[in-house]
């Protein structure tokens, strides 16, 4: 497999895994959980280094996952006290975990250059270099790992589609029919944590955060059907992966950054030209409405009352 294809496939798999969960995060107004996770995993990496003296990807992903899950559950618990709102809970938990990680590095691990850029902020350009032999073919490790995560997410969302839909739309009703919103919320957050952690290592944190938030938000501007929102999210994710790679190569810039910018561009376009919720469509609607109201008023004041039947 060529390096180009391998990188695009890696990014596409991240877009798939993230795109399945992103719409639910956006609809539940917890989009920024993804950014929280991206910072909260640091102590996990430090702990793994301290215990096993390794930076091998699988143990690192394991350690990071533990702290990512800790982070999302702590946010959930803090929110559950009803003393702290969801957004503030996020802003309290992740900097604390990040601080623990930074202190761990300076105290115990400063000699190993466990520097943030290369460890949690993986670089997608290097993803094709680590390979695993699968059925005699060398396949990038990131592709193998991310395929697994994407598959799990597909299963999760397909199998629990109606449960996720019901608990996101109307949690109280869900409780009366025996579907626990708390359970589904935790399941979703744990899935986000594991997806994010696995993807950080291959493509870097910011691309994962971007792909969890931006395509789903863009899709939210474009559609009124949940399944269509998920489908649109996936499409925008893949467009970002392909176009971003092409753009990065042609101007020799960061691949992850370029992919993020393409996603942002998609958002900007949707914000302006979305047929139902875009700025242009809405201002046209407003103008049309006011014009028709004016016309009716004009008809109504005519003495013959021609507008009586409108």
């Amino acid at each position: 497999m060529s390096d180009n294809l391998s990188i695009i496939l890696t990014a596409g798999l991240v877009a798939t895994a993230a795109g399945l969960l992103g719409p639910f995060l956006v609809l539940r107004r917890v989009a920024l959980t993804s950014d929280a996770v991206s910072h909260a995993v640091l102590p996990g990496i430090v702990v793994i280094w301290l215990i096993f003296h390794t930076r091998a990807p699988l143990p690192v992903i394991g350690g990071a996952a533990v702290f990512a899950i800790l982070c999302v559950l702590a946010i959930d618990a803090l929110k559950g006290t009803n003393l702290v709102r969801g957004d503030a809970a996020i802003a309290l938990v992740f900097p604390a975990l990040f601080s623990v990680g930074v202190l761990g590095i300076t105290r115990y691990a400063s000699d190993i250059h466990l520097d943030l850029d290369s460890t949690i902020y993986g670089e997608i350009a290097f993803s094709p270099f680590e390979t695993l032999p699968i059925a005699g073919v060398e396949i990038a490790r990131s592709i193998v790992l991310l395929s697994g995560v994407a598959l799990v997410n597909i299963l999760l969302v397909v199998l629990l589609w109606k449960e996720f839909k019901a608990t996101t739309f109307d949690p109280e009703f869900s409780r009366t029919i025996g579907i626990s919103p708390k359970l589904l919320s935790r399941l979703l957050l744990v899935a986000v944590a594991i997806t994010a952690v696995t993807a950080f290592e291959s493509v870097g944190a910011i691309l994962v955060v971007t792909l969890l938030i931006v395509p789903a938000t863009t899709a939210y501007l474009l559609t009124d059907r949940l399944w269509l929102m998920v489908a649109t999210t996936l499409a925008i994710g893949w467009i970002s992966a392909v176009a971003g790679y092409w753009g990065a190569v042609s101007v020799d810039a960061s691949i992850a950054g370029a992919m993020g910018l393409v996603a942002a561009l998609c958002f900007a376009i949707a914000l302006f030209v979305s047929p139902s919720y875009g700025l242009i469509a809405r201002s046209l609607q407003r103008r049309r409405r006011s014009r028709s109201v004016q016309r009716e008023l004009a008809l109504a004041v005519k003495p013959q009352g021609a507008g009586a039947d409108t």
């Binding site: 956006v26 107004r29 917890v30 989009a31 920024l32 993804s34 950014d35 910072h39 803090l78 006290t81 003393l83 702290v84 709102r85 957004d87 503030a88 996020i90 802003a91 309290l92 992740f94 900097p95 604390a96 990040f98 601080s99 623990v100 930074v102 202190l103 300076t106 105290r107 943030l116 850029d117 910011i206 691309l207 955060v209 971007t210 938030i213 931006v214 789903a216 938000t217 939210y220 501007l221 990065a248 101007v251 020799d252 810039a253 960061s254 992850a256 950054g257 370029a258 992919m259 993020g260 910018l261 996603a263 942002a264 958002f267 914000l271 919720y277 875009g278 700025l279």
Partner: protein
């Protein structure tokens, strides 16, 4: 500024850091109120991330690497990002969290692309630009403190001058608009103040940890106070105390300042959330358990009293049957009543002891008083909007009115 630093019994560099942390904590504490209470706690996160492209553009445009220029770049990018957040929320159906997330991801992606571009233009000068994201309090200079102090003073004065308008807008933007306040301008102003706070913190604790500095003091202060006029100064105070404590601890332990400050703040918030009187998790849980227990005990006492009036004293099993209570729960309550000397047992038949009977009568009287309130309360002509608390009508209405209520009930019957 210099004399203040000399006054502190600390080594000069440590003293600078402590003063910086106090300034930062105070400013972030006061200004963070306008993020947390608008449910936009993570605005700081987006502003912090948007500093990266700001720094990169400032470097590209000026070629300079001095702190002032780069921070000015970060501030400009922060204001652009803030306006975009407000704009996205205002003009579309996107919620604050997603708007923050979009701005955050877009700006940071842009920053990364710009950094790679700078790197590819072979300018060896660029190394370390991204270090601005992670703060180095140790590098703080007295000159930085003066800049911080001026920015803090300006923003805090602004808050003091606009306090009433800001409060109205925070609480009820629609009402604020209806009385002619420029709500949009005020909302942008609040976000602009946050930009100032983030810029002030960038050098000391770094961008990411700045998120916590904005939120910690307000959340803690909110647990302790209920009025904005109190929350704001308390928040500033908590911010300053957290900053100083963290800075001193980190100096002693030779650890980086930012993370220590943030962890101190986190502990303070957790303590407030758990222990705050009248509100904290533990306080509430204990109160709930106490109330439950009392309701249950009183209910069982009334059950016994009623049963005794109706016939022979009941056994525990009979009581469970009559009252429809879980026998296990009932046994537990009876044991508690035994301990408190409320029960007088006669074989396995249950009586109330003298104090038990008195307590049961008190409960019944409270309940009768409540019935009397429902029936005759409208005749009382209470002097103000006081409302009865069913569990203690006498205290909530005042003795005078409770007596009148009783008299009315007696007259009627």
């Amino acid at each position: 500024m210099g004399s203040l630093i000399d006054l502190l019994p600390l080594a000069y560099p440590d003293a600078v850091v402590v003063v910086g942390a106090a300034l930062l904590g105070m400013t972030a504490g006061a200004l963070g109120v306008f993020a947390v209470l608008r449910e936009r706690s993570l605005v700081g996160d987006a502003l912090a991330h948007s500093a990266l492209p700001g720094v990169a553009v400032a470097f590209l445009v000026t070629g300079a690497k001095d702190v002032g220029t780069l921070l000015a770049g970060a501030a400009c990018a922060g204001i652009v990002g803030a306006l975009m957040m407000v704009g996205i929320e205002r003009t579309s159906r996107i919620r604050p969290d997603a708007a923050i997330g979009v701005v955050l991801s877009s700006f940071f992606s842009l920053g990364i692309v710009l950094l790679t571009y700078i790197a590819s233009t072979n300018n060896a000068n660029q190394a370390g630009l991204e270090k601005y994201l992670f703060g180095q309090a140790a590098g703080l200079l007295e000159r930085d403190l003066i800049v911080m102090a001026i920015l803090s003073a300006i923003s805090l004065t602004l808050v003091a001058l606009l306090f009433r308008a800001l409060k109205t807008t925070l609480f009820d933007p629609n009402f604020a608009g209806s009385v002619g306040l420029p709500v949009r301008v005020l909302e942008v102003a609040m976000t602009a103040l946050l930009v100032v706070a983030v810029i002030v913190g960038l050098r000391t604790v770094g961008a990411i940890l700045m998120v916590a500095m904005l939120v910690v003091p307000t959340v803690a202060a909110r647990q302790l106070a209920g009025r904005l006029a109190v929350v704001l100064p308390v928040s500033a105070l908590i911010g300053a105390v957290v900053g100083v404590t963290g800075a001193l601890l980190s100096a002693r332990a030779e650890l980086p300042t930012g993370p220590v400050i943030v962890l101190v703040g986190f502990l303070v918030v957790m303590a407030c959330v758990l222990l705050a009187p009248g509100r904290g998790v533990i306080w509430r849980a204990r109160k709930l358990a106490r109330d439950r227990r009392r309701t249950l005990t009183e209910g069982v006492m009334v059950d016994i009293e009623t049963a005794i009036h109706a016939g022979p004293p009941p056994t525990a099993a009979e009581l469970a049957l009559v009252s429809g209570r879980d026998p296990r729960v009932l046994r537990r309550v009876l044991r508690r009543l035994d301990r408190e000397g409320m029960l007088a047992r006669d074989g396995d038949r249950l009586h109330l002891s003298e104090i038990g009977a008195a307590a049961a009568h008190a409960v019944l009287e409270r309940r009768n008083l409540w019935s009397a309130w429902l029936e005759h309360g409208w005749q009382l002509q209470l002097p103000d909007a006081r409302e009865p608390n069913p569990s203690d009508l006498r205290a909530s209405l005042g003795d005078h009115y409770a007596d009148r209520l009783q008299a009315l009930a007696v007259k009627e019957s």
